[in-house]
């Protein structure tokens, strides 16, 4: 009887000392409620929250419900998602059962907005409206009208259907009209087309896109002084092309990268229908190596090669590659390297460009949280070559042809970050090597843009 009455002092001491281990508490998710659903389809929601039933202890429940909450927010159907975990109640409840309630707020039927967009040396105003979660599974229907500073206008209508699978596949179909001016080549281009795209991740971070594009292009001369080789290309052409894009980007930031690599390869086959036919390969590679805490060394390379498909189909000037300018090989005018006629660029079928950059913080080190975050100094060496080379079978000979008359420039400057996508560069450039006919720019070059060599 004594033993029954006495509370053992050791047991009481034990329960007070041991910290609470969530993973030791057995828990089972018995019921999941989702409140606030309207047009979102049930099967999509069920697919997303299903994994929560696999949780076996409380820690797993808490972690998984956070994961599921993030997944629900990324579906493109909901604005906010709230989580509430409670013990399960009701007739079928067990002692370790839990009931989880997700409170979701669906996106409105129609959203509209006015944004600004930064492109290469151009800013644009975008007025658009979109219908998010159009049919209940995260689809999006979007219409946009763009007006740019360089008189470029365009609009596009797009329908996006994400498949919500492991590979994060997304199907996109769009039609667009785009007007653009190219004064460095003397023409104005109007493109109207349809494109279909299927993108997926083959392994995490490696994204593939398989696209088909049908474009009606109208090229017209900007003025009476447009050079004759460009005038000869004026008129209408139809391009029907298949494209495959591989994109891998593990940099910590696209604008001011400190570490990581970017790899992008585009292969295009034009000529299934239409009168434009070529095979085009283009490669972009960038490697960032942090040297000390603030100093980054970046090496980048771009190259492209295209070949006419057969004698019946043509390559037009708007398909060719161009080189030179504050976004590619600095120290040259826009499209200033390569075949020119009357100071207007004609483009060519093969090119390569390479850059070696050293990014350092500002000399007086203002530190984090101020100017130091958005400004950097920049030392660079750029090189490149472009022409309609004739390659034979000999690799050594081909390599020699490619590097024979290369261009070189170096310089330094300041970079200013605009948000997370674009930057402004102010550089002082010195062209070192150039060929006859190139349009060089010795001095200060300013550029705004998203993509730089």
């Amino acid at each position: 009887m004594q033993t029954a009455e006495r509370n053992s002092p050791e047991t009481t001491a034990k329960t007070a000392d041991v910290p609470l281990q969530l993973s030791n508490i057995k828990a089972l998710v018995e019921k999941i409620n989702v409140e606030g659903l309207g047009r979102t389809k049930d099967d999509l929601v069920i697919k997303t929250i299903k994994e929560l039933f696999e949780a076996k202890d409380f820690q797993q429940v808490v972690l998984k419900s956070q994961e599921v909450r993030t997944k629900l927010e990324k579906l493109g159907c909901f604005k906010n998602v709230g989580v509430f975990i409670d013990t399960s109640k009701g007739q079928d409840a067990t002692s370790s059962g839990l009931e989880i309630t997700f409170t979701v707020k669906e996106l409105k039927r129609v959203l509209g907005g006015i944004n600004t967009l930064v492109g290469n040396n151009e800013g644009s105003l975008v007025i658009g409206s979109n219908l998010p979660n159009t049919f209940g599974r995260g689809e999006k229907l979007q219409v946009e009208y763009t007006y740019g500073t360089k008189q470029s206008k365009g609009f596009n209508g797009m329908f996006v259907k994400p498949l919500h699978n492991k590979a994060n596949s997304i199907l996109t179909s769009s039609f667009y009209q785009q007007n653009s001016e190219w004064p460095s080549s003397g023409y104005h281009l109007c493109e109207q087309g349809i494109s279909l795209d299927a993108s997926f991740d083959s392994v995490p971070l490696l994204r593939h896109s398989v696209q088909w594009e049908g474009v009606w292009r109208e090229l017209s001369c900007q003025s009476r002084t447009t050079t004759f080789p460009v005038r000869e290309q004026a008129g209408h052409s139809l391009k029907s092309a298949l494209r495959h894009v591989i994109h891998y980007d593990n940099r910590d930031s696209a604008v001011f990268s400190n570490r990581g690599t970017l790899f992008r390869m585009v292969q295009e086959l034009a000529g299934l229908g239409g009168d434009v036919g070529f095979v085009k390969h283009e490669l972009t590679y960038q490697l960032n190596v942090p040297i000390t805490n603030d100093v980054v060394l970046q090496g980048s390379f771009q190259g492209g090669f295209m070949k006419r498909l057969n004698d019946e189909k043509m390559i037009y000037i708007c398909d060719r590659f161009f080189l030179g300018g504050p976004h590619t090989v600095r120290g040259f005018e826009q499209r200033g390297i390569g075949p020119q006629s009357d100071n207007q660029a004609l483009g060519a079928q093969t090119y390569w460009a390479a850059g070696l950059h050293l990014f350092t913080p500002l000399p007086f080190k203002p530190g984090h949280g101020g100017l130091g975050d958005i400004l950097r100094t920049h030392f660079f060496v750029n090189a490149g070559n472009i022409d309609n080379f004739n390659f034979g079978d000999n690799i050594k000979e081909s390599a020699r042809i490619l590097t024979d008359r290369y261009r070189l420039s170096y310089g330094m400057g300041l970079m200013l970050r605009l948000g997370t996508v674009a930057r402004i560069e102010l550089n002082y450039c010195v062209p070192l090597k150039c060929q006859r006919g190139d349009r060089t720019h010795h001095g200060v070059q300013v550029a705004v843009g998203v993509q730089f060599l």
């Binding site: 009606w216 001369c221 009476r224 008129g235 209408h236 139809l238 229908g273 239409g274």
Partner: protein, 272 residues
């Protein structure tokens, strides 16, 4: 950037300083399967004019000649660094180099010539446009296949439709769209009558020497006589004025039948 007008006048001034180059080219659409009535008439007019002046040139046929032209009009010539389109600007351009065919005319005759050229281009030119683009028969059997022959599907249908709208708009502005086909044939008849009367029994319109007016009339008459259409009323109207036909044949023999190294087009057909 200098204004376009200033650039034109500067370019004409500069053009006057250079002699006629040896590699001048005349651009037009493909003769056999592409070119249409009005463009053919204009191109022949320019070709015979250049030969009348004794100037060498080569004919280049391009599927996009219409879009290459700085003003959209055909034909156009590339003379050194200058690109000049349409007969009147070409005549002025050549006159700047000191070559012209109207020295022997007095002021009244020059005014007369301009009036008749205007008559020929307005009536015959617009009639050619009307028959090509507004007559259902000709449109479906001749114009659409020819205009679209240089483009792949679906551009050929799209562009032909677009061009038809442009031409219809132009003819509406000129008041031609409301005419019936018979009225158009009547207008052609009246015009040929006026030209025939002016020509009389000479071979040239003025002083027995060739001028631009002869070139323009040659272009239209030759085209109307030699282009096969579903309905041959145009050809028969022109044929009912034998002096016009004779003048046309004479010019053809004089300037086209010699097989020269200057032309790359097929030499002109005979009348049938």
């Amino acid at each position: 950037m200098p204004s376009v007008l200033l650039t034109d006048s500067i370019s004409f001034e500069l053009g006057a300083l250079e002699p006629w180059p040896s590699d001048v080219k005349l651009y037009q659409p493909y003769e056999v399967e592409h070119i249409l009535l009005q463009d053919q008439a204009n191109s022949l007019a320019v070709q015979v004019f250049l030969r009348m002046c004794g100037l060498e040139f080569q004919v280049e046929m391009r599927s996009n000649a219409e879009h290459m032209s700085p003003s959209g009009k055909l034909p156009f010539i590339k003379c050194g660094a200058f690109v000049v389109a349409d007969l009147d600007p070409i005549v002025s351009f050549i006159a700047n180099k000191g070559i012209n065919l109207t020295d022997h005319l007095d002021a009244a005759q020059k005014a007369d010539m301009r009036a008749y050229m205007s008559l020929a281009n307005n009536i015959l030119g617009n009639a050619e446009l009307y028959i090509s683009w507004c007559d259902e028969n000709v449109l479906n059997e001749v114009t659409c296949p020819r205009y679209g022959s240089v483009y792949s599907w679906p551009l050929n249908t799209l562009l032909t439709w677009r061009k038809q709208k442009q031409v219809t708009k132009k003819l509406t502005a000129l008041g031609w769209i409301t005419k019936t086909l018979d009225e158009v044939y009547e207008d052609v008849d009246h015009c040929c009558n006026a030209l025939s009367e002016r020509l009389g029994n000479h071979l040239y319109f003025f002083n027995d020497r060739c001028t631009e007016l002869d070139a323009v009339v040659f272009g239209h008459v030759f085209t109307l006589l030699t282009t096969p259409l579903p309905d041959n009323r145009l050809a028969s109207i022109v044929r009912s004025y034998p002096n016009l036909v004779e003048a046309c044949q004479f010019l053809e023999k004089a300037f086209f039948q010699k097989p020269t190294a200057n032309t790359t087009d097929g030499d002109s057909d005979n009348f049938n």
